[in-house]
Amino acid sequence: MTNEECMGRLVVSATHDLRNALAVIRECAGLSEDMLRMAAEGKGDVNARVPRMLEALAQAQAQVRRGAALAESMGHLANSASGGADGGGSPANRCDLNRVVEDFCVMIARRGKACALETEACPAPEPVMAATSALDVFRDLLDVFDACAAVGGGAHLRLAPTVLKSAGISTGAVACEVVSHGENTDMVLAALTSCPLLRPARSGRDSWPHWLSRLVPGGQEAGRRFVLPVNTAE
């Protein structure tokens, strides 16, 4: 997948969600407007409509927060694509995996709904820095998402940034945990197990610890956990 494809797909999903949020805001504001107009025209008691108007306005506020999160995520994506050239924050070759994972889950939510694939971000308490661009990580996460969607989705993926330490090397990584036990979970697990991103032999990185996609000890109740290596953390 190219950077352009990755950006395009995330933006399509996010803008679809943004339009839906704007549609709810418009209808909620419109409903309040309709009720007040009717009251001004003497058609009905405005006081009786106040609870519904307050509810509609609260719904609108919630959608504003949803829209703001989407805009923030798309801004991060755009900034990572421009290499931070527009002064938006992160330099081109460094990113906080917590933020990337959160933004990825926000942007892909709509697409995930269509694929019956729920993604959940579980940020670490401290920033997890990776010496790579955010766009590279977005692309890898989208590959993992595609692997699960290609077999029919029907799973809940928990994405948790973490730092792995082995032989004195610290590595930023994203743990991908399949937490649901739906009827398609086994297919999703199989897809993740065979996903090329999760194999240790990535080109130019033979010195990395040889972790493989593996199950968390403790059996099924502990979830099914895979680790997506990103790059050397500092």
Binding site: T15, R19, N20, E27, C28, A114, A116
Partner: protein, 156 residues
């Protein structure tokens, strides 16, 4: 034509949007049923009194809007379908029209724009029915059937 004459079905998985829109339509005298997914929409088309006009979201989990559109046209080709979407590009718009959609609106849309489209769709449905009835009266049953028949150009 009065608002009460038009039976509307709103189909969208964005529950708050479709519930609030149905409330606003009711305040304007229209009766609107709601369905939150494709299977529920098709069930409402098959059972009871079918709608005259469906306002349909394209991108829904499970059965998407294209599948619903195709299903509706198979059950009752006379039902007018207005596509409402937060996603569509030109290709989707063309595909929807070729499958028999009446019009295509992008979210967020103005309610008066939607109502204009609903009124025109309902009027055109009535006119088609009158043309078909007139042709049938003249004995031209083939032409009458063609006026009322399902048109799915994507099948060609």
């Amino acid at each position: 034509m009065t608002a009460q004459d038009v039976k509307i079905l709103l189909v969208d998985d964005e529950v708050q949007f479709v519930d609030t829109l149905s409330e606003r339509l009711a305040m304007r005298g229209f009766t609107a049923q709601v369905a939150y997914d494709g299977p529920a929409a098709l069930a409402k088309v098959r059972e009871g009194t079918p709608p005259d006009v469906i306002v349909l979201d394209l991108r829904m989990p499970g059965m998407d809007g294209f599948e619903v559109l195709r299903g509706v046209k198979k059950i009752n080709p006379q039902i007018q379908v207005i596509i409402l979407t937060g996603h569509g590009g030109d290709a989707e718009e063309v595909a929807a029209f070729r499958m028999g959609a009446y019009s295509f609106l992008k979210k967020p849309m103005d309610i008066d724009e939607l109502l204009g489209s609903i009124r025109m769709a309902f009027r055109d449905r009535l006119e088609n029915a009158m043309v078909a009835a007139s042709l049938a009266e003249q004995g031209d049953f083939a032409s009458a059937q063609e006026v009322m028949a399902e048109k799915d150009l994507l099948k060609d």
